[in-house]
Point group: C2
Chain length 227, copies 2
C-alpha cells in the first residue's frame, strides 16, 4: 500500500509517519522509483504499537525507542520485553523512604510474587505508600492485603487476556491494558465505594438496603491516622 493508505488504516497522519521514518522508529518501505515506497502489514502493526505507547502510555519518543529496541532484539525473552514496556510507563523521578521500600519487599516476599528485585514497580508502590504517610495516614496491613489480593485477581485476568502469538501485539496490548485498564479499575472502585457508603450510612431513597451489617464490620480500622 502507499503511505496515504497506511495513514488511513492506522489513523496516523502522513506527516507523522514520515517523521517516524526519519527518526528510525518505523522501518523503511519497499522503494518504488525515487520518491515512492510501498508499505505492508508490518508497518501497520508497528504504527499501532507506537500509537499505543504514545497515546495510551503517554510515552516520549525517546522512551518509545527503548521499548521498540527490546521488541526487535530477538534474543530477548518475552517477559524481559514486557518488563521493559512496564518500566517505560513509570515516572523516573520517584522518591521513596527506606521504611516504605522495606514494607514493599516484605509484602512481595509474603505474596510469593516473582518480581525482579530491581523492578521500578517496587518503587512505584513505595512511593504511593509514602504519599499516604505524608498526609498523616498509615495504611494498615489488613487493607494492604485486601488491595494485594484484588490486584492479583485483576493482574491474572489481564495477563491471561494478552495475545501471546506475536511480540509486537503482546507489548502493544500490555501497554494499553496497563495504562488504560487502571482508570477502568479505579472508576469501578469509586462506584463500588459509593454503593458501600450508601449501605453503611443509609440511603433514604433506597429503604430496601440493610445498614446493620456494614456497621458491625466498621470496627476494623484499615486506615489509621498518624497525624
Amino acid at each position: 500500500m502507499w503511505i496515504a493508505e497506511l495513514s488511513r488504516q492506522t489513523d496516523v497522519p502522513v506527516a507523522t509517519i514520515k517523521y517516524y521514518l526519519r527518526e528510525g522508529l518505523l522501518h523503511a518501505g519497499e522503494a518504488v522509483g525515487a520518491t515512492r515506497a510501498r508499505y505492508d502489514e508490518t508497518h501497520v502493526r508497528r504504527l499501532r504499537l507506537i500509537r499505543a505507547l504514545v497515546e495510551a502510555g503517554g510515552l516520549s519518543l525517546a522512551r518509545v525507542r527503548n521499548v521498540l529496541a527490546e521488541v526487535d532484539e530477538e534474543t530477548r525473552e518475552m517477559h524481559e520485553v514486557l518488563g521493559a514496556a512496564h518500566g517505560a510507563l513509570i515516572p523516573s523521578d520517584l522518591t521513596t523512604t527506606e521504611e516504605s521500600r522495606g514494607r514493599v519487599d516484605e509484602l512481595v516476599a509474603e505474596q510469593g510474587w516473582q518480581v525482579d528485585s530491581e523492578s521500578p514497580d517496587r518503587l512505584l508502590l513505595a512511593n504511593a505508600l509514602d504519599a499516604l504517610e505524608k498526609v498523616g495516614y498509615h495504611l494498615d496491613d489488613h487493607l494492604l492485603k485486601t488491595y494485594a489480593s484484588a490486584a492479583v485477581q485483576v493482574a491474572d485476568a489481564e495477563v491471561t487476556s494478552l495475545p501471546a502469538d506475536d511480540r509486537q501485539r503482546t507489548v502493544e496490548a500490555t501497554v494499553v491494558v496497563t495504562a488504560l485498564g487502571g482508570p477502568v479499575l479505579l472508576a469501578l472502585r469509586r462506584l463500588a465505594q459509593q454503593s458501600a457508603s450508601a449501605q453503611r450510612y443509609g440511603n433514604p431513597h433506597r429503604p430496601a438496603c440493610d445498614t446493620a451489617e456494614p456497621a458491625v464490620r466498621s470496627t476494623s480500622q484499615g486506615v489509621r491516622s498518624t497525624g
Copy 2:
C-alpha cells in the same frame, strides 16, 4: 493556642492559614485583644481536612469550599456529604459516548450497586471505557466483571476502614483513601502483573515456576482488538 502553634501542629504555613481565614474556609478564632486570636482543636481538624482535599485530592479552593459547605450543612445525610466529596474529585470536562454510558448503566444494574443515576462516577467509568475503544481495544465482559469484583472487595474494605464518629474526619479520610489508595492499588496490580507475566512467559532465573498452566488459560481473550 496561638496561630504559630496551629501552624506547627498542622504543617500549614501561617500565611496560608490567614488566607483561609480571609476566604472563610476556616472559621475565625476567639479574639483576644485587637490583633490576636486563640485557636482550638476545631481549627486543627478543619485545616487537616482542607489539607487532605488540596494535597491528596488536588482540589481547587473553589471545590474545597463546596465540599466544606456540605460538611457544615448539618441537615445533610452522611452519604450525601461523601457523595459531594467524591464528586469534587472528578474532572468536570469528561466526555463519553452513548454506548459506553449504556454499558455502565447495565453493569451497575447487574451488580446491584446503589449508585445515584446522576453520579459523575458513572461518567468516569464510561470515559475510561471510551479511552480503550479509542486506541482500538474493546474490554470484554469477562475482564470487566473481574475488575468489578476486585473493585467491590477493595471498596468494601475501604469504606469499612473509614472513621464513622465525626463528619469532618470521615470526609477527610474518604478523600485521602479515594485519591491516594488508587495509586497503591495500581502499583500492586503492576507488581502482580509482572509476577503473572514471569509465570506465563517463563523466567530463566526462577526455574521453579511452571509455565504450562497459564499457557492453557491464555485461550480466553479478555481484550479484543477492534482496530
